[in-house]
Amino acid sequence: MVRKTYCVEGMHCSNCAMNIEGIEDDLPGIKQVSASYQKGQMVVEFDEAKVSEAQILAAVEKRGYQAFPA
């Protein structure tokens, strides 16, 4: 299990952070996502054996935001 921080672009309110945290439900290997609109970041705790970083970034993009490693 690893814990990584990503910068997120495109959030315009705290509801966006809630929306991004929804990728928890999209990908089975993610344990927890904690997104912050104020910091413009998200911290993802995930199992590298089950889900890749590329899949996580793609899931965020699918929800209308751009994420990249901090």
Binding site: N15, A17, M18, D25
Partner: protein, 362 residues
Amino acid sequence: MNQFIVAFITGLTTGGLSCLAVQGGLLASSLEQQLEQQLDLQIEQEIAARRAHRSGKKRNRILAHPRLALPILLFLMAKLAAYTLLGFLLGALGSVLQLNSVTRAILLVAVGIFMVGNALRMFNVHPFFRYFAVEPPKFITRYIRRKAKNGESFFAPLFLGALTVFIPCGVTQAMMAVAIGTGSALQGAVLMFAFILGTSPVFFVVAYLAMQLGARMEKWFMRFVAVAILVLGLVSVNSGLTLAGSPLSVTNMIQAAKASQPDLASASVPQSDGVTLYLSAGNSGYSPRVLHARSDTPITLNVVTNRTYSCARAFVIPILGVEKLLPASGTETISIPVQTAGTVMRFSCSMGMYTGEIVFDQ
């Protein structure tokens, strides 16, 4: 009463769009199941209608999302109830704080700064302004998200409507601060009720027709909302400064510029003689706006009302600590001790909207 009408209009014009931008996604996800069912039903109806048309039978009219109106209404009703309760609690909090004109002035300025900060955040002026947005605790957002995802029948919109109280939009947050400023549980509840009631028609219509705003429209709406919040914020700061008797407020500066102009409305009360002053408190403010008094003797100020129902009835003189709720019709007498020559004593209504001053001459 004016305050509640303003709250309703604010909700109707900017609040509805702002709320929809923040909470619309929640409503949409809670209605996802109904939408899918509706889509299936429509496809079936369409196929049946085509078959009927081919066989020469009369075509049935297809209603547009008849089942969506009720869950949206339930969502909005639950939201209205939850925010009215919140307004009650915030108003009660304000009454516990025992707001006098000084604390109310501080609160108005703070609310104004909060609103201006939120407007600048929406304009993306600097990432710092993101700290003006209140982020609900993670366990609440996670709970709401789960409930939205597993939404079932009509319970989900009802429940999620009430939960929107935890994810208020920028305009709503500002209105919540105003509810504290009322200093009364009942007034706080009525204020929030009026505001949320105002947001409901726009919320309903746009949600019903579109369910989700397109990205381009949302951007346009947010700019509009940001401008409105910016203006309301500046008005709030100005009201706070006016209430504090600051010469820096726009209202007082304009009044200083107009001071030499005769006030035609002053004929409605007896002429002041420098020792006994008469001031009319009407539905559109105080008249005359500038009173002249002698500086070598105590003054009697008579504030006259005649079917006055505006907030001009809540009369304050910050420098003397005078706070009076004037009768709707009648005369309130206020004694003013000896003042030094050149003193300018500002008075206003308790919200700093209507103002005037007494100038103490030689």
